[in-house]
Symmetry: C2
Subunit: 137 residues, 2 copies
DNA sequence: CAGGATCCCGCTAGATACTG
DNA sequence: CAGTATCTAGCGGGATCCTG
């Protein structure tokens, strides 16, 4: 059996990822990205229309109520996974800008829709909850 | 100021939902649906191609490693939010079937893409993590 | 400004046992 | 089969304090 190229091995591996399987890495990746803060950070960096570079404090302001810990943690995770870049400009005080990579942009396309879905269907969900609660009660 | 109809009030309220705001109900809804198990349950019920009705045990088998607690909890939440229906057939033993509502189907369209994104980009993310870890280390 | 480091509470998710 | 009930360990996540 001949040695395969990296591209060949990737192609083979790719079809085998299945988040329905407990041990599959994609299950863990799904868990990471299925996150409120991930959705909101990506949506913020995606901007309305064109993606934009944002500073830490800008993000902190836009994601109302996010703690520094969660924001930093989320950004680090996104950076490590190759979804955002972190650029430090050595001004005084230091300036840090975040922006989506191409990979991040592709995920943002998907995640934005979830946020939009939640906003668009809030009333229907609220109505359903009312109905459910009275029915069960 | 004249009294508004329910539809008018909904139309007004709808545009005001903004998940970036901490107190907004859509923030909490976003948090609920941004969940691994929600994504997987919806993907399972969405089927490959056509949506299908599934029994509890079928779901349990397809979502490898899910605990009964989490599956039941997730299904209840989805039912309450009007995303799935739960149908009990009084056989012995009892048969319970779950299937997507129209609302659930619309969310499934979105959520399925997340699962697919995770599976499709796993290699790239893995590579990015390797690079990040060696860079930091 | 953009975090790092700690402390600590609460709730969640898993494991286990039981039931109509 | 399709759950409910209970217990607990663990950790997610907020609050707080500190720093280059």
């Amino acid at each position: 059996m001949p040695t395969k190229t990296a591209a060949q091995r990737r192609a083979l591996a790719k079809v085998s990822y299945d988040a329905f399987l407990a041990g599959c890495p994609s299950r863990q990746l799904l868990d990471r990205i299925s996150d409120k803060w991930v959705a909101l950070v990506l949506a913020a960096l995606g901007g309305s229309g064109a993606p934009r570079s944002m500073r830490y404090s800008e993000l902190s302001r836009q994601l109302a109520g996010v703690s520094q810990k969660m924001l930093t943690q989320t950004l680090r995770s996104l950076e490590r996974d190759g979804l955002v870049t972190r650029t430090v400009t050595p001004t005084v005080p230091v300036t840090v800008a975040y922006q989506l990579t191409d990979l991040g942009l592709s995920l943002q396309d998907v995640m934005r829709r979830i946020k939009e879905w939640a906003e668009a269907n809030m009333d229907e969900v609220l109505a359903s909850r009312d109905e459910y609660d009275t029915r069960v009660a």
